[in-house]
């Protein structure tokens, strides 16, 4: 019951945040030079044509009224029409979003699966050579731009060691993408690297803090072995702050896919965003912004729910 109430409250909060995002996106759409009409009709259009277009599209109505129209079309899944691709933005995003999700989710899973044990291992071997080496590598990985990292990966693993193709899977359906899984390896590595660097740092810090907690001493005094203490107690206690960070990392992941998709020519949302930015295709850009915002809100919501599952104190409202 308490869980259900919490869920309802959090979903309502998420809806409010998304509504605020739509207001911002709406305002941005109308702040475009010449407005949407100029964008669609092009620079050759006469003032009369623009006025007629505005009248037909309801763009001469007061802004709040237009906002209601905008929301209504949004609810029908209509994000407007691309200036350049002559296709609905919703259709464009619907084709591309699953591919980007495959890339980002795979990167996140691989990244976390490496970062969490790595961070714990570093904490256990604190201030020993392994810790220093991994710390240095983390800083290098974190400070290397994804683009540069991708280029190096391509150079090493397609040219020097021809193990993987330099192009990501080009198939239209997800099935085709997965069928060509070998081609996914390099993009996923490029996407996961900064995640490993960042989250292994979080995990190292959280583990170190927990290793010095009194309950670890209690467990040792009860005869528990180091390995058991680490996995039974420290692991879960260290995971809570890391999980809390996950939600905020969603936009970073999308930002990374922007570069990775461009680099490996992977036709996902990042590439769509990239080309829309090149051709000032504002409806597409803002549609992408909206989708990424929603993904971020959903990501934080999932992270909060996950944290509630791990830590009973969150649920009880004490900390």
């Amino acid at each position: 019951m308490a869980n259900l109430l919490y869920l309802i409250r959090r979903v309502l909060q998420a809806v409010v945040v998304i509504l605020i995002v739509t207001v911002v996106v709406f305002c941005l759409l109308h702040a475009l030079p010449g407005g949407p009409a100029r964008g669609i009709l092009g620079p050759q259009a006469t003032a009369q044509q623009i006025a007629q277009f505005n009248h037909e599209q309801g763009l001469d109505k007061p802004l709040p009224v237009q906002y209601v129209y905008y929301l209504r079309t949004l609810l029908h899944g209509d994000l407007g029409t691309s200036y350049t691709l002559n296709e609905g933005v919703s259709q464009l995003i619907a084709q591309r979003l699953p591919k980007t999700l495959v890339l980002t989710v795979l990167s996140a899973v691989v990244g976390l699966a490496l970062a969490v044990p790595l961070g714990m291992w570093q904490a256990v071997r604190r201030n020993k050579p392994t810790d220093y080496v991994i710390t240095t590598l983390s800083f290098v990985a974190y400070s290397t731009p994804v683009y540069f990292l991708g280029l190096i990966l391509v150079l090493v693993f397609t040219q020097l060691l021809p193990w993987f193709p330099s192009q990501a899977p080009q198939g239209d359906s997800l099935g085709q993408v997965f069928a060509d899984s070998n081609a996914l390896v390099l993009p996923v590595i490029a996407g996961a690297t900064s995640m490993v660097a960042v989250f292994s740092r979080y995990m190292r810090a959280a583990t170190l803090e927990n290793l010095s907690e009194d309950y670890v001493r209690t467990a040792r005094a009860g005869g528990s072995r180091q390995r058991a203490i680490l996995w039974r107690h420290v692991f879960r206690n260290s995971l809570t702050p890391v999980v809390a960070m996950l939600g905020y990392y969603v936009p970073v992941l999308f930002g990374g896919s922007l570069v990775v998709e461009q680099l490996f020519n992977y036709p996902g949302m990042g590439l769509l965003f990239w080309s829309a930015a090149q051709s000032s295709d504002y409806p597409v850009l803002l549609g992408c912004v909206l989708v990424i915002s929603v993904a971020t809100v959903v990501g934080t919501l999932l992270a909060d729910i996950l944290q509630r599952i791990i830590d009973p104190r969150v649920k009880a409202g004490t900390s």
């Binding site: 005094a221 009860g222 005869g223 058991a228 009973p312 004490t318």
Partner: protein, 569 residues
């Protein structure tokens, strides 16, 4: 005499034998010897108390006896549990001994348990560390252990998380873990320091009966001489890493030989208690002499709103007059600190009125309010946290002058700071040091200097000495008392330590669950309490006299149901 009665696996030898134990910590600034030449034996069924002030090395000895010393410690000599040498034994083998041959109860029950694991599972883990047993069997034993340590409704409580238990219950869980495999040695490091006196009395009773039932040897580490008198058979006194005196509890507490032991016992504030059956002196509350300095009238405070709101104070009336000290006592959560904060203007009452120096504090705003509050000085419990680590001692003390005496020239300010530092008896050379370079007692004097620099008419002290050693506590309280005689400020003194309040305050206000339970002159109220609650509170304080304490304990245990409700468990 208790030693020979019980027979265990090794009836002849001691359970714990430390021979010439030395522990040295390697730090960045070089090696620091923490413990030197410690030699002591604990026989089966015997309780040995290791006492001393902070930094004396008593906890280090306890950790060495568990093989739990931190990585930068190096142990020499010998520490043997049941004949098994610990020093030099590899970690994996030590783990096999911990929790079985020797186990430990820690000081802070709030942090000693894994917050994310159910308590039943934590106890079962200790069981399964040493015995091959199906999980279900271990879980059943864990419930049984919870029952033995007095947790009500253990089947259901076993599935609780630590945060769902009170402090006393958490300590019972830690004890359950410690006795899970019937160890022959139990090490208790300040097991009751973080608990209220009534809960402390229950935990000590529990430990005593468990140890007596199983013939367990107990190493009790504590700084509280009352706890020693209540629990120990023998006492070893530590000073700067060495044992300076060992003897039976009567010898050491009643007829100390070493000068340090005498000094230590001299500094312990003793709760004067009426002999059972003595008649009350009959004197009522003597009306205080001076003008009223602060007055809370029917003050209520609520924190939060809706069904989760907490009523922190209800109808609290409390006055402090010029020149007097009023002690505010009660268990944790009784609202004594909240009441002090209301007097400081830090917490807004939801009902009632607060007058400070005759002016209604709730009505005054802005500059007038600031001028009013300039007349109040405050000293808080934690001398480390209450001073800005980036300021020098002189800057810390001068800060109120910048706020309230903006027109002062820097020369005047410097003179004022020097004067007040001298009055709290801090050497002038310390003025330019950082607070972290000072000892706990010195830091608390800096707090005091800062509170007094504006020559306040009211000093609010919230547990000002509970983080300090007894000898330091005595010195700090003496300074406060002298300055009060000199300047005549009123003092609202919040403390959980009834003995300190008895010595320091003329009047006392006893709080319970946000209400005033009882009030009166300190002498009558604490010697002859008028309410059951205060009576239980006084009865639960262990006095540092083993003979007297034995009688008090017997008297307390005769009134059985009384202790429960006071503990709030």
């Amino acid at each position: 005499m208790t030693t020979a009665e019980k027979t265990t696996q090794a009836p002849t030898g001691p359970i714990l034998r430390l021979t010439d134990l030395g522990v040295t910590f390697t730090t960045e600034t070089g090696d620091v010897p923490a413990v030197r030449g410690v030699r002591l034996d604990i026989a089966p069924g015997e309780t040995l108390a290791l006492v001393g002030e902070s930094g004396s090395g008593k906890s280090t000895v306890a950790l060495a006896a568990m093989g739990l010393l931190p990585g930068n410690a190096r142990a020499t000599g010998s520490a043997a549990v049941g004949g098994r040498e610990l020093i030099g034994t590899p970690e994996a083998e030590l783990a096999g001994l911990r929790g079985r041959a020797a186990s430990m109860v820690f000081q802070e029950p709030a942090t000693a348990l894994d917050p994310l694991t159910r308590i039943g599972a934590q106890i079962a883990e200790v069981i399964r560390n040493h015995r091959t047993l199906p999980a279900r069997e271990a879980a059943r034993e864990a419930v049984e252990l919870l029952r033995r340590v007095g947790i009500p409704d253990p089947e259901q409580r076993a599935t609780a998380f630590p945060f769902q238990l009170s402090g006393g219950q958490r300590q019972r869980v830690v004890i359950a873990m410690a006795i899970a495999n019937s160890p022959s040695l139990l090490i208790a490091d300040e097991p009751t320091t973080a608990l209220d006196v009534t809960v402390q009395a229950e935990i000590l009773d529990l430990l005593r009966s468990l140890a007596a039932d199983a013939g367990t040897g107990v190493l009790l580490v504590t700084h509280n001489m009352g706890v020693v008198a209540d629990f120990a058979d023998r006492v070893a006194v530590m000073l700067e890493g060495e044992i300076v005196e060992t003897g039976t509890v009567e010898e050491v507490l009643l007829r100390p030989r070493h000068a340090y032991t005498k000094r230590l016992l001299g500094a312990v504030p003793r709760l004067a208690v009426a002999e059972p059956g003595a008649a009350p002196a009959g004197a009522g509350e003597t009306p205080p002499a001076g003008d009223e300095v602060v007055g809370l009238r029917e003050v209520s405070v609520r924190f939060g709103r809706g069904p989760r709101a907490v009523q922190a104070l209800s109808d609290v009336t409390l006055t402090v007059h010029a020149g007097e000290t009023v002690g505010l006592v009660g268990e944790s959560g009784s609202g004594k600190s909240t009441a002090a904060r209301v007097a400081l203007g830090l917490v807004q009452p939801s009902a009632g009125s607060v007058s400070l120096f005759g002016t209604d504090l709730r009505r005054s705003r802005g500059r007038a309010r600031r001028a009013l509050l300039a007349g109040v000085g405050v000293v808080l419990q934690d001398p480390v946290a209450s001073l800005d680590a980036r300021m020098s001692v002189a800057e810390c003390v001068a800060e109120p002058l910048y706020v309230h005496r903006g027109r002062m020239t820097s020369a005047e300010r410097r003179a004022r700071v020097e004067d007040v530092l001298e009055r709290v008896r801090l050497p002038r050379a310390l003025a330019n040091r950082a607070p972290r370079e000072l000892s706990g007692g010195q830091r608390q004097r800096v707090s005091l200097a800062r509170a007094l620099v504006l020559e306040p008419r009211l000093l609010v002290a919230d547990e000002p000495t509970s983080a300090l050693d007894v000898s330091v506590q005595a010195a700090v309280l003496e300074v406060v008392s002298e300055l009060q005689d000199e300047f005549g400020f009123a003092c609202l003194f919040v403390s959980h330590d009834l003995a300190v309040v008895q010595h320091f305050a003329q009047r006392v206000v006893v709080m319970r669950a946000g209400r005033v339970e009882e009030r009166g002159s300190t002498a009558t109220t604490l010697l002859h309490p008028g309410t059951d609650y205060t009576r239980r509170l006084v009865a639960a304080v262990p006095v540092p006299d083993p003979v007297l304490q034995r009688r008090r304990r017997a008297a307390r245990q005769e009134a059985p149901a009384a202790g429960r409700t006071a503990a709030g468990e």
